[in-house]
Structures are given as C-alpha cells and as structure tokens.
Symmetry: C2
DNA sequence: TTTACTGCAAATTATTTGCATGGAA
DNA sequence: TTCCATGCAAATAATTTGCAGTAAA
C-alpha cells in the first residue's frame, strides 16, 4: 500500500504569461481559467515546456497514456523528460482540467475535461479506439440505484468493452 | 508498455483431490467445476496451499486486494508467499472463477464469480465498502448505446463512487 | 536574487519471473 | 521418479521523488 505525504507551497504569482502563451479555443476557456487559478494558488511559475505540453494535450484532445504523450511531445520539445509529462498531467488533474481512466490496461489514461456533460466510453479491444457517449437513461437508472441504497454519489465511471464498427467490418 | 510471452504446458492430470479437499457450498459448484477443468487442461497438480487460498477466497466472498488476502491467509497458512497468492488468483481469473477490478485504486481487486447475473458496484470512498447491484434498466440503455454505435459488446464495467449510507450517518 | 522548473537517476509500488527445493502423482 | 508448486530474491513496469543545475519573476 502506498502512503503519501504532500507538502504544498502556496504563494502569489501572476500566471498571465501562461494564458498569453497558450492559444486555446473558447470551449477550453473555463478549463484554462481553472488551471490559472490553481497555478496562482500554488505559486507556480510560467514554464515554456509545461505550456507546450498543456497546449498540445488540449489541442489533441485524446485519451493519452503518459508514454504516448511523451513520444509525441518529444518531437516538438526535444529533451523533454518523462517526469515533466507526469508532473504536468498531475497538475492538470489536480486543477480539474484532466481526468484519469483505466480502460482495463495497466497504465493510466488522461482525458481533457472540457465538456460540461458527464460522458462514458466505448473501448474497442481490437484497435484501442475510445468512443465517448452520453446517455440520460443510464444516468437516471444510476441515480435510482443510488437512492435505493441511500448512497451519496460523487462520481461514476462506465466502460463498455468490445469491438468497434470499423474493426468488425475489417474482420470479414 | 509491458510485453508478455506466455508459455503454456498442457498435460493430463486428475484433479479429483482438489475437489475433495475444497468444501464449497452449492452456489460455487459450477465455478469449481470450471476450475477443475482448467486445472486438468493445464496439467496442474493438487496443492494444499492453493486449495486453502481458493477455499478461503470463496468462503469470504469479498473484493480482495492481494495484500489483504495475503495478510488473512498467512494466519491460516503460515509461511505462505506473496507469489503464491498472485499465482493462485491469476489461475482463478484465467479459469473464469474470479474477475479483476480497479476501483479507482492502484492495486487490483479480485472478485469471486459465482453469480450468473452481471452486476456493478457502489464504492464507498470513506470506508471502502463495496456494494453490488444489478439493474436491468442500465443494461438496456447500455445495449441501446452500443447498437447506436454498431459496437459489439464483450464486457462492461460500471462503478459509482461516493459515500455509503453508514458513512453518511456517521458524519452527523 | 529568489524560488520554481527540469532532467536524470534512484526510489517506490505493484506485479511477475527465475531458480533451487519440496511435494504430489 | 517425474514434474508441478512454492518461497525467495531479483526483474519488470508504472510512477514518484531527490538533487543539482536552469530559468522565470
């Protein structure tokens, strides 16, 4: 079992530079604002590499493994280290700008939080494709189940594993 | 990324001893039969320790971490090693007698497969309690979503995280 | 000039595997 | 006797952290 002790530094620093440097479409505006607040609260400085990672991650908008992200980022930012990717993604998660999943794999996948709506995933076991979906019916029944058990819902995660349309066609 | 190469030995051996030694209630009968077939197919021998682990795991019928199971088993079978727990649980999973989950934790939890019905979990973030439930409505909507996407469903996993009834009451 | 950021190597955690030895068939 | 099962230690995999040098503010 893993035990963690976290030491947090808090200090005021203006994060304007980060917001100027990162070019983001409007849909990510509020996510970015959350990030800036979070940075300010922690007294983080602007950093070229971190900004590059965040910008890339936001633009790509995929369900990344650290390994995948590392491989793609290092083409743009040579000399980048694994730790920086890990640290940046952890920051995004802590700020609520990213979310983690384990789609039946050993390593963690990071997903950008930019939609207001909760969504779930179809995970293709052949090609690894991940398809997002939202379904109100499922949510309603989940709430009903929780109520039955007097369970206070904080979060939920649903994955449907199988074979996507494309891979089914490919087989024939 | 982890790469695996598995070498399998197949040989005929009678698994009668295991079935005699493990005392199991009727509801686990078919699970046990699957296990015995699986053992026979692989040419596995009977083993006192393995039998003890399996029997304990079946009787307890909980969502075990390897660590938890190890700690409890070693009281009964002194001198047991972690590897044996790992190897036995892997065997159970391969035989379809156990299933793994990651309830937002880093380590794997193992669950006994003894119900015919698929079920999902309410996971209490305060006390770690895991409550199983089945809900046909959720399943129907899941199937509908899959059909919409022409997705061939192989498996599904739903977790609802939050605070259980007991822990909510405790807070006040 | 202070203090955060980064890469690297070493540490941690969860899990698996090689090997010598004990035990089942 | 044969060959699987086990414990232990070493290996692996994913992730985190310490540290010394670099770069923001």
């Amino acid at each position: 079992m893993k035990m963690k002790v976290k030491i947090k530094n808090k200090k005021e620093v203006s994060p304007e530079r980060l917001s100027k440097r990162i070019k983001i479409s409007p849909k990510n505006r509020n996510g970015l604002e959350r990030l800036l607040k979070c940075q300010a609260k922690r007294g983080l400085k602007y950093s070229k590499k971190r900004a590059a990672i965040i910008e890339y991650f936001i633009k790509a908008d995929r369900h990344y493994t650290v390994e995948q992200l590392y491989n793609e980022i290092k083409e743009i930012v040579p000399n980048i280290g694994y730790s920086t990717i890990y640290r940046t993604l952890r920051l995004l998660v802590d700020c609520g700008m990213a979310r983690t999943h384990h789609f039946g794999e050993t390593d963690t996948r990071f997903e950008l939080v930019h939609k207001e709506q909760h969504h779930d995933h179809l995970v293709c076991e052949k090609c690894g494709r991940i398809i997002e979906f939202t379904n109100n019916g499922i949510e309603k029944f989940q709430n009903a189940v929780a109520k039955e058990h007097n369970f206070l819902v904080k979060n939920r995660e649903l994955q449907i594993f199988g074979v996507c349309k494309r891979c089914q066609q490919r087989k024939r």
